[in-house]
């Protein structure tokens, strides 16, 4: 079920996560029309950088109409293309979400619901008319009409519509498995559900809104970056506008078209054009991993997390303990212990019991025996704390050491002298000892081991290099917890954890200024999920948990918390890197445009034309064309995100400064020259 190391996204396209190619034809077509409809000034005004480009293109358009010429028209066309390319980038990012939303909408087809009235009678109503507090009845084959909680019955439910996981899950009233989601299908039995969602606010409605980006709010860092980009835009307006009087003083004249071109080239259009696409794509990447973030803020916070609270079971260890060895006491051998242990576990259907049978078979060749009519299985109870089998007069038991010892003494048996030492040793190693007795005779101990997930240690090592501390949360005693913590390589652990202790730990970390992320599914996790900066609720969990958290993991895989952190970081890195790239580009553009700007008055400035561009007009046009094309060229990067590798901050920074900073200085020199050569070759100039 939980597979950290095989990326679920790439090879398992399912459910919401319809993995589509980056340039899916359908999305592409929608995006093309979207880039035109987004020319609406009200849409453009939200993005100060592109708004300036739009206004600039209108100015050159008027100029082109008043004084037509190839140059003026070329510039005008390329400026309009710059705006369209930016719109296209955003539409592409949105389109991917829209495609997913459509799939969801089809699912939320007009279902009929059997509402139970107060008098106990049932009536048929449309699902859309259900309101919070209504009770509905669902039987095998019905689609559950809305989100709710089972108040009666048990059923197997197909949740593939949401999670993509085809194996049905069991949902029952009471406890932590009582939540059902609208749009999922009951496969067997009959349940009564109390609706917990308001009309139009069901889980699927929220998902649709989310993937469509309908009410997408800018995240804090995005707002801060938008402000910085606005500053970088505002500062270049006087730079360019004052050039006119400066030139006039020098006896030169500068055309408005060239000034607008200069302005557009200087303001950070690359990042301005791609900023919202990066944000939408970041959310989309989460959705593709079957994680629904309730706010973009949470995704960003994930990148800032410094402490990860991870539940031991299911996240760090495989869900169940497994028999690892048989340890005989004096006077007995391993074979005997294995034989009796297997006998005791024959009817034990718990995973632990099964693992004992399997270990005995694999290591000692003891064939699995069949239960015979004379065999009586003794169930585990909280009072006896033992289970076992009665075969004829033989009573075989396995259980906690203290219970088995008491039971043996009651029968007049003696306790082997080395038993306590063995039990102690097993506990200290982080395993669970089960003592095995045959009648009054204690044979030995079964060691049940928590199995740490493969590869998890390396993952924690990565977290550590990124400066993230991992804390294991477990109900085990401190001894056991310490041993597992060591084996898994977590930085710290919280043993015998209660919901209160968990909450106190989160608060303590937050008071130290750290951001905390955790996963949870139970109702008693809800307060901690709400307190944590990033709370990921499992989809299998209770409604309370899902409402308290700010993300829901549809696969209910707690290990995914680590992926979420990486996605959060990648989102910020992509923005930062493209901002750097965008600003670094300005240097080459200056060297292209400044000599061209004053070419007539001051031919001496030709010395600055280090790219040896053909003519002033080809130089300006090449810079503008480069500026527009670079947006298109970077769309895949914006949608996919900058490649992220777990490393410490210095290494990540060095890498990105080289690629996007130094690269950002060099690349435009090369490509502006290439575009200039092409323009000349086409005899455009």
């Amino acid at each position: 079920m939980s597979n950290v190391l095989t990326p679920t996204t790439a090879d398992a396209p399912h459910g919401v996560a319809q993995a589509r190619g980056l340039f899916d034809r359908e999305i592409l077509a929608q995006a093309l029309s979207g880039s035109v409809t987004k020319l609406d000034p009200r849409v453009q005004a939200r993005n100060p950088v592109m708004f300036v480009v739009l206004v600039g293109s209108l100015v050159t358009l008027l100029e082109a109409i008043a004084h037509p010429g190839i140059f003026t028209w070329s510039i005008t066309v390329w400026l309009i293309l710059t705006v369209l390319f930016a719109n296209f980038a955003e539409a592409m990012a949105e389109g991917r979400g829209k495609a997913q939303a459509d799939t969801l909408r089809r699912m939320r087809s007009e279902t009929a619901a059997r509402r139970r009235r107060d008098d106990g009678h049932e009536e048929l109503v449309a699902a859309a008319n259900l309101s919070r507090g209504d009770t509905v009845v669902c039987e095998a084959g019905d689609v559950i009409p809305s989100d709710g909680e089972i108040i009666e019955g048990i059923a197997s439910v197909d949740e593939s519509a949401i999670t993509g996981e085809s194996a049905p899950v069991i949902r029952e009233s009471g406890g932590d498995r009582s939540a059902v989601t609208g749009g999922t299908k009951v496969l067997s039995d009959r349940i009564v559900v109390r609706i917990t969602a308001e009309r139009g606010h069901t889980f699927i409605d929220r998902m649709i809104n989310l993937v469509e980006g309908a009410n997408r709010q800018k995240t804090p860092n995005e707002i801060a970056l938008t402000i910085l980009l606005a500053v970088l835009t505002i500062v270049f307006i006087p730079v360019v506008v004052t050039l006119q009087p400066f030139a006039a003083f020098s006896g030169a004249s500068v055309s408005v078209v060239v000034l607008v071109s200069l302005l557009v080239c200087l303001i950070p259009t690359t990042i301005g054009a791609l900023l919202s696409a990066i944000g939408i794509a970041g959310m989309d990447r989460l959705v593709q991993r079957n994680v629904l973030a309730m706010s973009g803020r949470a995704v960003e916070a994930a990148g800032d997390v410094q402490v990860l609270l991870l539940d031991k079971t299911g996240t760090i260890t495989l869900g169940n303990r497994m028999a690892a060895s048989f340890l005989p006491v004096q006077g007995h051998n391993e074979q005997e212990v294995a034989d009796v242990a297997q006998l005791a576990s024959l009817a034990d259907e718990t995973p632990e019991g099964r693992s004992i049978v399997v270990l005995a078979k694999e290591n000692f060749g003891i064939r699995e025996r069949q239960l015979e009519p004379g065999h009586v299985f003794v169930h585990f109870t909280a009072t006896t704390r033992m289970s076992g089998l009665d075969v004829g007069g033989r009573q075989i038991r396995k259980g906690a050491a203290e219970s088995v010892k008491r039971w043996v003494r009651e029968q007049g048996g003696t306790i082997p002298s080395d038993l306590d030492a063995i039990v102690e040793r097993v506990s200290r190693a982080g395993s669970t000892p089960l003592t095995v007795a045959d009648g009054a005779d204690i044979l030995g101990v079964i060691e049940l081991k928590d199995v740490v997930k493969q590869g998890i240690k390396a993952k924690f090592e990565e977290m550590r290099t990124m400066g993230i501390r991992t804390v294991m949360i477990t109900g085990d005693n401190p001894l056991t917890a310490a041993a597992i913590a060591q084996e898994a390589g977590v930085d710290d652990f919280l043993a015998e954890a209660t919901p209160e202790a968990k909450m106190a730990l989160i608060k303590q970390e937050q008071e130290g200024g750290r951001l905390v992320a955790m996963t949870g599914d139970g109702t008693n996790d809800a307060p901690a999920l709400a307190q944590a900066d990033v709370g990921v609720a499992m989809n299998t969990g209770t409604t309370a948990a899902k409402e308290a958290g700010n993300m829901v993991d549809l696969d209910s895989n707690p290990t995914k918390l680590i992926d979420i952190v990486e996605i959060g970081k990648q989102l910020l890195i992509t923005r930062g890197s493209l901002t750097t790239f965008s600003i670094a580009n300005d240097i080459a553009k200056y060297f292209a445009i400044i000599p061209a700007l004053f070419a007539i008055k001051y031919h001496q400035l030709g010395a600055l034309n280090i790219m040896r561009l053909h003519s002033p007009q080809s130089a300006v046009l090449s810079a503008v064309i480069f500026n527009a094309l670079v947006i298109i060229a970077l769309i895949p990067l914006a949608l996919r995100g900058v490649r992220f590798r777990a490393a410490n901050s210095a290494a990540i920074l060095r890498r990105n400064v080289w690629i996007y900073g130094v690269g950002g200085v060099v690349v435009p020199f090369v490509f502006i020259k290439v575009i200039d050569v092409v323009l000349v070759a086409l005899h455009a100039y």
Partner: protein
């Protein structure tokens, strides 16, 4: 060789000053220095305040504005009324209104742009009571504003940032007055004039001419002129005259004094935020850029002036036009770069006569926003603004909400830092555009073409950056230039100070995020490089077109006169 020995002596003496003056200032502003308590206490009683009464950034900022506003009125009033005031042996008349406004704005903003010749315009009372008083208090205001920003980083979840009146008093009595007094004695000892007697009249019998020689209380004004990065000299010729700058030692001390506090404040910063490494990082940013500019300009001045060379004259001692023979080409370049990159603006040579690219070195030194090392206090706080922008971009590049010294840099901080960074280029470019567009402005420069443009651009860049050095050639004492210059200076000072104070308040209110391996390091070479990048990009990209129309064209014209 002598030049390199001078550099070596400068590096050693500044290094020691950085370490010890830096930690001393940290102690002063942390309230750990009390030896003048008997002076402090009565002042606080008079002002009705005490070190325990801390202010929010708004109250602190209001105090800065009120204090500076009163200073402006006070200075203006003295200049306007000087004809009726004492200590006026030459019976100089009242100063005109436009010039008084420009001069008052100039001295209250720590600019010391002088549209007048001191000896022929200002009475001793005006020089001492109006101008020299401002030369003491304005660097103090700059330093305490920087201290507020530093406290923003040093404090945690604090609603207050200090007490303006206490900080100002401590800065004056513990830092500026004692150092200025000590060095004043050295200047006077070396021969700088110090008298309240009027001008001396000398009759040259041989040549049958009578000369009037200006004198005055010059020596003690000299030390605070340099120490406070003021730059406004008593005499028109500033540090080029032997009365202000009599010997090689005073010339060296001038350079040393004007660089000392701006550099030392980085140590103070490191000490106060609890990480000297962070102070070293800022020092490196300042020193690297400063070093490059000194090298560049010294090299340029060591060459022949292209205009002179074009006339067929070849000098073996560099470009000596407009330079004091006592100091020579490279040393004058060192003084000039030190003075223009610290917002001091004093001069021991005529900057107008530098080679075009040498002059560009001085002009661009100011265009970087006066952060290398910049003015007293203003250099540090402006540099921190650029550092925050570098941190923001760099922080995003590692995938974290950017933080500097544990303080998260979010929208409010970016907004304030962006605003503060925006002010200078926008103001300077706009006032320059106005000046070149109107007839009154076009009448200013002596030369035509690119050199004339350079003269206007230099003058308004100098005032907008609160530097005060003059390129020469620009006739500034006209109503137009007096008023536009005053606006330029006031905006360049206070439109930056207010967001800086707000930033200090916003940062002080924040809690600290503990450092981890995932934190963007702000005390290493990468950070230094990024910050230098931001300074060069903001300064360079905003002024490149303008500079290309001035000095660059001139240099590329190979000695054509304009």
């Amino acid at each position: 060789m002598a030049f390199f020995l001078t550099l070596l002596a400068l590096v050693v003496s500044l290094g020691l000053t950085w370490r010890y003056l830096g930690s001393y200032m940290a102690a002063v502003f942390d309230g750990r220095v009390h030896f003048l308590g008997f002076v402090e206490r009565p002042i606080y009683r008079l002002l009705g305040t005490s070190p325990e009464q801390e202010q929010t950034w708004k109250r602190y900022g209001a105090a800065v504005i009120v204090f500076s506003g009163v200073s402006l009125l006070f200075t203006y009033a003295i200049l306007r009324l000087q004809g009726w005031l004492p200590l006026n042996p030459q019976h100089l008349g009242n100063v005109g209104s436009a010039l008084s406004f420009n001069t008052a704005a100039s001295f209250v903003t720590n600019t010391n742009w002088q549209n007048y010749g001191g000896e022929t315009t200002m009475s001793y009372f005006s020089q001492i009571g109006a101008l020299m008083v401002q030369q003491f208090v304005t660097p103090a205001v700059g330093i305490v504003v920087a201290v507020v920003l530093v406290r923003g980083f040093a404090r945690r979840s604090s609603s207050t940032v200090g007490n303006f009146w206490v900080d100002l008093t401590r800065c004056l009595f513990y830092v500026l007055l004692p150092i200025a007094f000590a060095f004043g004695i050295v200047f006077v000892g070396e021969g700088a004039v110090m008298t309240l007697a009027g001008t001396a009249t000398v009759h040259d019998v041989l040549n049958q001419v009578t000369q009037t020689i200006a004198r005055g209380p010059i020596g003690f004004m000299e030390s605070i002129k340099q120490l406070g990065t003021n730059g406004g000299g008593f005499l028109n010729a500033n540090s080029a005259t032997p009365f202000e700058n009599p010997t090689g030692l005073t010339n060296f001390l001038s350079i040393y004094l004007l660089l000392s506090i701006p550099f030392a404040l980085t140590y103070t910063f490191g000490k106060m935020v609890g990480s000297v490494r962070h102070g070293v990082a800022l020092l490196s940013v300042m020193a690297l850029l400063f070093g490059v500019w000194v090298g560049f300009t010294s090299f340029a001045e060591h060459q022949n002036n292209p205009a002179v060379a074009a006339a067929g004259v070849h000098s073996t001692v560099g470009n000596t036009e407009g330079k004091e023979v006592r100091f020579g080409d490279t040393s004058s370049a060192l003084f000039a770069v030190s003075s223009t990159m610290t917002s001091t603006g004093s001069a021991d040579a005529a900057y107008d006569s530098f080679t075009p690219i040498g002059g560009m070195g001085l002009m661009t030194g100011m265009m970087l926003g006066e952060v290398t090392p910049g003015g007293t206090g203003s250099g540090l706080y402006t540099l921190l603004i650029y550092a925050l922008i570098a941190v923001f971009i760099g922080g995003l590049m590692i995938g974290r909400t950017p933080e500097y010294l544990g303080k998260k840099i979010q929208s409010r901080e970016v907004k304030l830092a962006g605003l503060a960074a925006l002010v200078m280029p926008v103001v300077v470019l706009i006032v320059t555009a106005i000046a070149v567009s109107v007839a009154a402005g076009r009448a200013g420069p002596l030369n035509a073409g690119p050199h004339g443009f350079s003269e206007i651009l230099y003058g308004l860049t100098s005032q907008g950056n609160n530097n005060g050095s003059a390129f020469g050639g620009l006739t500034g004492n006209t109503p137009f230039y007096n008023i536009i210059g005053a606006v330029d200076m006031l905006l360049g000072r206070f439109a930056i100070m207010v967001p800086v104070l707000a930033l200090g308040g916003a940062l002080a209110a924040k809690n600290v995020v503990p450092e981890s391996l995932g934190t963007f390091r702000t005390d290493n070479a990468m950070f230094v490089g990024l910050t230098i990048g931001v300074i060069l990009i903001i300064g360079g990209l905003t002024f490149f077109p303008a500079v290309s129309l001035g000095p660059i064209v001139e240099q590329l014209s190979h000695g054509r006169f304009f």
